[in-house]
Symmetry: C2
Subunit: 468 residues, 2 copies
């Protein structure tokens, strides 16, 4: 822990949002959720980097998550890397390695998860230790967590002989898949098996050379010119860094730690994290809990949820879906999401309410050729100057005061006043007041997707095109 190394944190913010459904969705995967407090997991993941480095954090994610992650981390300077398309964590990590390797090949990259809960301070100490070992040994160093129970939901890593020069650094004895209960019990009592935390470190140089050994096509990406990246990326196979590199290389060490760590991999993990009240119950939001035991009611809606006489159960309520699940079967939520997808439903995609930098909107209802939304604009904020090709919009102000640009004209609408925005008209909605502005928007048209939008001007630096 003595040698001075430069540490570059890289957070891979993939995540498909299946295991914490219905709170997580494709459009708001786990890392964007606020579970134990008002901060999202990605926000907390970025904040904890301050415990071990002063370098800016790199976040690698798909473009469709870009706006939300930026909004979640708006108070921190980050290097945001967009994946041109979904090609797995190996390709995502290679994108970050590429940038860091160019400017500092000796720098240590810590690859961190975006959606776990852990002891920040202790992690900082562990990562500094691991970074020194990684730099000195020119190896990948993985954080291995000492198991506290015979967990069947995690991958394990076996440890072999200890390296004398470090406190708790071991030669890897190889990865093992999620075990059954009996095997997990054996692992626990042997003391030789650690949980794979999914966090690992190495110098940029080591990452580049290991990737080069096992995934040569990815090596091409690391050395490519900027103009070539997108094309190479699209030609890649979808593979995880675990499968493609970690499980193949021999150049890997394990730092053993008893760091508090919770991967929030299921509603049971979330239940374990949250503070219980009498009889092991946890409630959040509008609910009535009566004669329940070890039961969690998780409700972030205006709806009312009532649980009576339940045991070991989780209820998660959202505007369009409700999950009621035995906590011991929480892993099956993934299969539920598969069922939703395969039956052509849409409840896995997005919530009825979407947060934007200027406020939020809620879809109240939709049908053939129409959609009805509530739009809430925070004081002092404004939407982009925009137009839609396929839809017209009726706006009725129900709260606050709206400054409306509609074609060439600017008008002010008060409560109970309305206007009509024809298709193709350039328009903007703005709240110059001191209180929230709420309007009801009724859209009509042949196509009502959010992507039918041309932005001419935007205060939140979202993509715009030049005005006609």
């Amino acid at each position: 822990m003595s040698k001075k190394v430069r540490i570059y944190p890289v957070i891979v913010a993939g995540g498909s949002g299946t295991r914490l459904w219905p709170f997580s969705r494709e459009a708001t995967p786990k890392q964007l959720l606020c579970l134990s407090d008002e901060k999202s997991l990605i926000e907390k993941s970025v904040a904890r980097c301050r415990y071990f480095t002063t370098e800016k954090t790199y976040i690698v994610a798909m473009p469709y998550l870009a706006e939300k992650i930026r909004y979640n981390t708006k108070n921190v300077a980050i290097n945001y890397i967009e994946e041109p398309t979904k090609r797995g964590t190996a390709a995502a990590i290679a994108l970050a390695v590429r940038e860091i390797y160019k400017k500092d090949p000796e720098g240590v990259i810590t690859v961190l998860t975006a959606d776990h809960e852990l002891d920040d301070k202790r992690l900082g100490e562990d990562l500094k230790e691991a970074s020194c070992a990684a730099a000195e040994k020119e190896s990948i160093v993985l954080l291995g967590i000492e198991p506290t129970g015979p967990e069947t939901g995690y991958g394990y890593i076996k440890v072999d002989k200890k390296l004398k020069e470090y406190k708790e650094c071991y030669v890897s004895g190889g990865f093992v898949e999620k075990p059954d209960k009996r095997t997990a019990e054996k692992y626990l009592s042997s003391g030789d098996f650690l949980w794979n935390s999914g966090m690992f470190v190495a110098t940029a140089k080591t990452f580049a050379s290991e990737i080069g050994k096992y995934l040569p096509k990815l090596s091409g990406l690391i050395n490519a010119k900027d103009s070539e990246v997108e094309k190479i990326f699209e030609s890649l196979k979808n593979i995880s860094f675990d499968d493609g590199v970690l499980e193949k290389t021999k150049n890997i060490l394990v730092l053993k730690t008893d760091l508090y760590w919770n991967d929030l991999g299921s509603w049971r993990s979330v239940y374990e994290l949250l503070p219980k009240r009498e009889k092991g119950n946890y409630t959040d939001g509008n609910c009535i809990s009566r004669n329940n035991e070890n039961t969690m009611i998780f409700n972030k809606t205006g709806r009312l949820v009532v649980g009576v006489g339940l045991k070991n159960t989780v209820i998660v309520d959202t505007e369009d879906s409700t999950l009621v699940c035995d906590l011991d079967m929480a892993q099956e939520v993934k299969e539920v999401v598969d069922t939703i997808k395969s039956s052509g439903r849409k409840e896995h995609l997005e919530h009825k309410t979407t947060h934007r930098p200027w406020g939020r909107y809620t879809i109240l209802d939709e049908g053939a050729g129409f959609k009805v939304k509530f739009i809430h604009v925070n004081p002092g904020e404004k939407l982009s100057l925009q137009s839609h090709k396929h839809r017209s919009e009726h706006w009725v102000v129900v709260k606050g005061e709206a400054k409306v640009t509609n074609g060439g004209k600017v008008i002010v609408l008060k409560q109970n006043e309305s206007t009509y925005i024809p298709a193709e008209a350039t328009h903007r909605l703005e709240n110059e007041g001191k209180v929230e502005l709420t309007i009801v928007e009724v859209q009509s048209g042949s196509y009502l997707g959010e992507d039918d939008i041309v932005r001419f001007e935007d205060v939140y630096e979202r993509k715009t095109i030049k005005s006609k």
Copy 2:
């Protein structure tokens, strides 16, 4: 069963809607629900009268249920009696006795429940038998159901010696309260105790004289002139017919029957009624049921409900509330509703969607000074010609074509067209088309209750006032 008697069915449609919450509400109590098919319980209760009489059915209920009960029974001619105010079943029954006694004192009145499931044909036979006995013996005859289990949720009646001249008619041995489990088991094995079905018969003359004996003030109501009814009614105490008359009189017989009867008194009773699939599961509506046992998912909304790994559980989903309850604790739902009431919430009052003779409306959201509704008008139907004192309305057509009267003008609005109805303007919404008309209504005003309405003309015979 030989003597010819005239039978007048009386259905007391009180019901507060607490035990089947959240599907039942104060505005839509149990008798208005469709549980096992597309027919409401009140509709089925009226229809079964055809098994024992050709006389019109009398329905006694509070005015706020009038419109809905009329709509539910629109294909049948009924005598509808409105209770001036809520004064319990004794007063409600006296109102019906008053009308029947005036025209046919020898006629037999069968007092029936509005919200039970039973074997219609068998009930018809039992009631004919009971009616003969009631007329010949000038007694009240109560239907007593042979118990099929040690039920603790019902009241019991003891039977004494048998009357020779009838098949299964007994002298009453007195009523007993809901027993505990052990007592209920003793009752069951003794064979002397029957469930109190809540259905009883007597001639109008007998009812009048029994009421006169035990509730003399009610006797005044029976003999009062029409103009006096409301005043007398309001001066009455709130008392049930069971407490006020049945449990006091000695002039009562019991007809013992093994009629199939389910009082639908809790979600467990409903579960028992409904047809189960494999592993005792019942599902209705949008839901995914996975590894459940003896579990009912009851969902009449567009939302998705998922149950995983549940046992002996009922989930009832509605637009604004979800209940998840152990079936053995289904009786506690009543206490839940008390909690909702006492905490100042509104989920016990009405559903988000309200059915009207012309179609239905759904409240999408409401806040200070505004309310947003979807209004669906069936083809060929029209709302009343009306005005509101305190609110103005924006209407946007999203489906079909609306004929709109607004002040002196009549206009036609197509999809994506809108209009504004100022407060106090006389207006009407009409669907002359062949497809459903859907509009979004945004109301603004200082008071937005449904009772801010003046009707000038109505095709459904709801109360109107003369046009100004």
